[in-house]
Point group: C2
Chain length 420, copies 2
């Protein structure tokens, strides 16, 4: 695990730290995804079935029936059911509070109208990367946005807990279809799966390649997803055992997860190192966390919180914890992060499940240009203009002059005709 002063990092160390493993798809993955797309376009459900048999050894029904969902919900522990419902309720409340008003006046003649996307497709991964919480985090904001038809595709091996979460989130249709064939089905439409206007959700290299192909077809897609990350900025006021616990909570996700500490206090860094070793001992996913820390972990010492903030802005982490005495002050210096957690009581795990804000966030430095998922991701804006005679008269000459300079005489005339 890299342990160094920030200003002593070599160019190579810096580069290794910044170049995080992304889910960038290989040319090979693109080729496979493209052939799946072509097949689904040609043969619809039949093609989907062939790929389900081939990749998932599944040839049962596509659509998940309501009674299966209800059964799953009835079968999970009551405590877990309550927790999922509480989480759902808090996600819903935040999305509702964030939802933009339908008409917003901007100037005396201009408005922005915000409307839900009509039909969205959400991919919910199965297998080891299956998080019931992510099913809540994606379906609920879509519902709050007012999406009329929420389609979910999830691999045939969906767990009972995942189905229970879906029973709570209540999408309109759920299909047992995984991989690139799920993306192709939602992007192109088949006999069973309706064509969607926008696609959401993380997945493997084939899923990601398929989403890029969907985008090239004119289907909107969300921000690409990579391994999870946390950057903790901590000063002398932070407690080493909490810093270590939070780094481990990130490192346990998978071997490519990133957990980085930047501290203005060298003593804290040493203590965190000790705590990491101590807490690692009893951790069920110890092997994964250790590997993640070794490859993408770092304990760095900054000269000042200002230097730490500069580093954070360049690193643009998915999650940023400010475990410092004055987190609100430091917050003002932060430009690039997926989500920010302020102070001792705001551990990142709270954001994963129950704080309310979405946990689907830009990774791999994408926070430099992307927002996390929100109710707004399921909506789009339309500008509305209404001029009266005086207002049009005021800009008549401006319009006509530029239109003619651009060689668009018809544009100029469409204005002038109104004053004849």
């Amino acid at each position: 695990m890299l342990k160094k002063r920030l200003n002593e990092l070599t160019e190579n160390e810096r580069k290794a730290l910044f170049e995080r493993s992304t889910s960038k798809s290989s040319v090979k993955a693109f080729e496979i995804a493209r052939s799946i797309f072509d097949e689904v376009r040609k043969n619809g459900d039949e093609a989907v079935l062939v790929y389900s048999q081939k990749f998932d050894f599944y040839d049962g029904a596509f659509e998940v029936e309501e009674k299966e969902l209800n059964r799953a919900l009835a079968e999970i522990r009551i405590e877990l059911k309550k927790a999922l419902e509480e989480s759902a309720e808090r996600i819903r409340r935040f999305a509702e509070a964030q939802k933009p008003q339908e008409m917003r006046r901007i100037t005396n003649c201009g408005w922005v109208k915000t409307t839900p996307i009509r039909r969205t497709g959400i991919y919910v991964p199965g297998g080891t990367a299956a998080y019931p919480s992510s099913a809540l985090m994606t379906v609920i904001p879509a519902r709050v946005a007012g999406v009329k038809e929420i389609i979910v595709c999830t691999p045939p091996n969906a767990s009972k807990t995942l189905l229970a979460a879906l029973a709570i989130a209540k999408p309109d249709k759920i299909f047992r279809v995984g991989g690139a064939q799920a993306i192709a089905a939602m992007a192109l439409g088949t006999q069973s799966v309706p064509k969607c206007d926008k696609l959401f959700g993380p997945g493997n290299a084939f899923v990601n390649a398929a989403k890029t192909l969907a985008a090239a077809e004119g289907v909107a897609i969300d921000c690409p997803a990579g391994p999870s990350e946390v950057l903790v900025i901590a000063d002398a006021s932070a407690e080493a055992r909490l810093v270590a616990a939070d780094l481990l909570a990130q490192a346990e996700h998978d071997e490519n997860a990133c957990a980085v500490l930047v501290s203005t206090n060298e003593k804290l860094v040493s203590e965190v190192e000790k705590e990491l070793n101590k807490q690692l001992e009893g951790l069920p996913r110890r092997a994964i966390a250790e590997k993640a820390l070794r490859s993408n972990g770092a304990l760095l010492v900054a000269e000042s919180v200002g230097e730490a903030a500069t580093f954070a802005n360049e690193y643009a982490p998915e999650h940023l914890e400010l475990l410092v005495k004055k987190p609100d002050e430091l917050l003002q210096k932060i430009e690039n992060a997926g989500a920010i957690f302020l102070g001792r009581w705001t551990c990142e795990a709270a954001g994963d499940y129950a704080a309310g804000p979405n946990h689907v966030l830009p990774t791999s430095g994408l926070a430099r240009a992307f927002s996390g998922l929100s109710v707004e991701s399921f909506m789009k804006q339309t500008t509305v203009t209404k001029l009266d005679e005086t207002e049009l008269r005021e800009i008549e000459k401006t319009i006509a002059t530029i239109a003619r300079a651009e060689g668009l005489e018809g544009h100029a005339r469409s204005v002038e005709e109104r004053f004849k």
Copy 2:
């Protein structure tokens, strides 16, 4: 030109009307763009120079100097300069009014922080598709958003008016580079052209393919652009000569432009047809407009404004004019459109140059899922959470229960550790 009752359209007519020519890139265009990407990645400026010589017959300096811009501004007619400045001012005013506040409180423990993207790359096409107004519409919102470094690439054949518009919009750097090599340079960075966080702007099939490749590299991109479109909904209160003038203003853009009228009044439709023929006579770009009307024009009769609205929502036009007696009422039924123009005095051309809202809008039905360009396109959101002891205690069990159900013991411990 298709002329029919809406409810009598055959499946094929409907399909032909809806399937608009997009700038979807062929596999060939992708291959060429990919080889350009690979070369620029390997050889930077040198590769860009080779492509500039090959495609644009240009081997001069990359960067446009300020004195060139000032010269262009000094050389255009004073009337045009004033018009561009007035247009710029109105775009700026709208963007400023629409700019979100930096911190917005959502719930008692959650905020949304909105910050500018640090470095954005804007492609401004040259040649026949060069619109000085588009240079204003893209650069000015970026400036208002607070983007620190605005990079523009434009082909070496940029007109004097285009340079004058850039002199007014004031990006930080302008490079005379066109095509896929411009996108590759801004996506990857070269010795001269800085690597950008997000890319904007329309272009030909190679530019679009290159933008898709940039997206696969983790560079954000804007909504893909296609030919311009207008849908006019008009009732008996509309004047045929204005409807015709507005349809022609759209049709004159290019041969693939779409201009569709849906009217509840058959008499108006006949009058519009006559007016189209009359007004076409004197139109400088008559040949283009005629071809566009023939291939993608339609005069349709609806039973009711409700039926017209349903059609509009399915068509999802870039521009939608509501030339009806009660446009505000009809507006409530509209879900899918890039921009909406209400009533007699709000011609679409006003929106192209001077109303204020952006004229870079989703085409080809993309308004179903995409918003037009705005100051928000140059910014991104970060959620901020701050819990106190009581608030964390309230959700402790929810977090720990779901975390353990997901097999993430470290997540549960990171919360529980805080109460030890």
